[in-house]
């Protein structure tokens, strides 16, 4: 019993069909609990007032935006090394979810920034690098769309994803150098274990983060299943056309 067994589309589909209902329930319930708790049952911050509550969407979305790209990178590597179609299709399926997460993070950030910083947008390193990440997502999706042959597309996008990752990290540090930021540092540094967020805010935030993570997982699994079926349909149609 190894993980690679699920590289078989049939086994993958069977597993995802068994897991998905539970996953949907867990994802939606924890997202709803996290958001509702965050929006209605936490006190207002002393300085930020009720705008602090946007954190329950903003932070999880930003977290998943980066992790989605990372997941695409891993999936692309698996595709290039082991040539499992499921992996390539999973990367393809994750991209639109990732781009939506990036967009949510950018928009909620702008909405929060307007009353707090007095501006919708500043060329802050974090904001800028997220915008660049958004552009990378767009390029990646556009390349998938532009190429007819799915194997070629998978190969090209996988290499693009790898090169893009290097350049995305490079850009992250380049913009750091380019302009000093307005965005606050991380509130929950994992490495040190200290955090600047009080428990009343932190617990619903954590639930919301888990919820977004599960939601990403469920959406990606679901979309991967769709992609696998689409690929099968295309193969069937091609076979019928030939005979």
């Amino acid at each position: 019993m190894s993980l690679w067994e699920y590289a078989n589309p049939v086994k993958f589909l069977r597993l995802s069909e068994r897991v998905l209902p539970t996953l949907w329930v867990l994802a939606i319930s924890s997202t709803v609990v996290g958001l509702v708790w965050g929006f209605f049952f936490t006190p207002d911050d002393i300085r930020q007032g009720s705008t602090v509550k946007i954190i329950y969407i903003h932070v999880p979305a930003a977290l998943m935006a980066i992790n989605a790209w990372f997941m695409m990178l891993v999936a692309s590597l698996i595709w290039l090394i082991r040539r499992h179609h499921v992996s390539a299709l999973a990367a393809k399926a994750a991209a639109p979810v990732g781009v939506v997460m990036t967009l949510i993070a950018l928009i909620t950030g702008a909405i929060w920034g307007q009353p707090m910083w007095g501006t919708w947008w500043v060329w802050d390193p974090r904001l800028t690098s997220f915008l660049i990440l958004f552009l990378f997502y767009l390029g990646y999706i556009a390349l998938w769309e532009a190429i007819e042959d799915s194997d070629t597309a998978a190969d090209l996008t996988a290499v693009l994803c790898m090169v893009g990752s290097v350049f995305a990290v490079l850009s992250r540090y380049a913009v750091n150098f380019w302009n000093q930021g307005l965005h606050q540092g991380t509130s929950i540094p994992v490495a040190t274990g200290e955090r600047s967020v009080a428990d009343v805010f932190f617990v619903p935030l954590l639930i919301s983060m888990v919820g977004f993570g599960l939601l990403f997982l469920a959406l990606t699994l679901y979309r991967t299943g769709t992609e696998i079926r689409l690929r099968r349909t295309k193969a069937l149609l091609a076979r019928e056309g030939r005979s």
């Binding site: 556009a142 390349l143 532009a146 290499v159 790898m162 490079l170 913009v175 150098f177």
Partner: protein, 218 residues
């Protein structure tokens, strides 16, 4: 390799497309800027390094879709792929040819256009140096983009979408170096980082370009 380089340069010059056109585009972009932002010399000299850099970058981008597309159509790339010369080397040579026909004229023209933009006197040397260090990276990264989109009909727009985000670090360090030079500040940090990016991309990008080109030629 030398023969390939000479062939590419000769083709670029004789076709009349890449050589003059990139330069003319650079000129027209720079000429357009004062119309857009106003002829205030103080403002122009302040934004000159950045505008010159973005103009050079766009001029580089413009000629990329011709870099491989013609050779792809007439089958030259298939021959190159089967030749004893590694495809990585062939693509490096092609990037070099692109740099000689596009980057180098831009670098030579940049100081002249700097006059139009009222660039401060001490900025000229640093502008040329930053372009000299940065444009090779633009050519090499652009070759990767061209190799990615070579099989796509009308891939020009997609090429820009894919390549421009990859240009971000080069642009940041290049324009920053030129800006600091023009302002009379210390340029060593951005200049070194720019040189580092160029060196790394020249060393590594041909492998990525060759990998995607092989997929496209499959």
């Amino acid at each position: 390799m030398k023969a390939l380089l000479i062939r590419d340069i000769r083709l670029a010059v004789r076709a009349g497309g890449g050589f003059g056109l990139g330069l003319a585009f650079f000129l027209i972009v720079i000429v357009m800027v004062p119309f857009a932002v106003g002829a205030d010399t103080g403002l122009l000299s302040k934004i000159a390094p950045g505008v010159l850099w973005i103009g050079a970058l766009l001029a580089c981008l413009l000629s990329l879709d011709r870099l491989l597309a013609l050779d792809f159509e007439d089958g030259t790339l298939d021959l190159l792929a089967t030749a004893p010369l590694p495809l990585e080397a062939a693509l490096s040579v092609k990037a070099l040819a692109h740099w000689i026909t596009t980057g180098l004229p831009l670098i030579i023209a940049a100081p002249v256009l700097g006059v139009l933009m009222n660039l401060p006197t001490q900025g000229y040397g640093w502008l040329v140096l930053s372009l000299l260090l940065g444009t090779p990276a633009l050519s090499v990264i652009g070759t990767f983009g061209a190799a990615l989109t070579v099989g796509i009909k009308r891939g020009g727009l997609l090429l820009s979408l894919l390549v421009l985000p990859l240009y971000v670090p080069t642009l940041i360090f290049g324009a920053e170096a030129a800006r600091r030079g023009a302002a009379g500040a210390d340029v060593s940090t951005p200049m070194l980082l720019l040189a580092g990016i160029s060196a790394a991309t020249i060393a590594l990008m041909p492998f990525a370009s060759a990998a995607v080109l092989k997929v496209n030629l499959r």
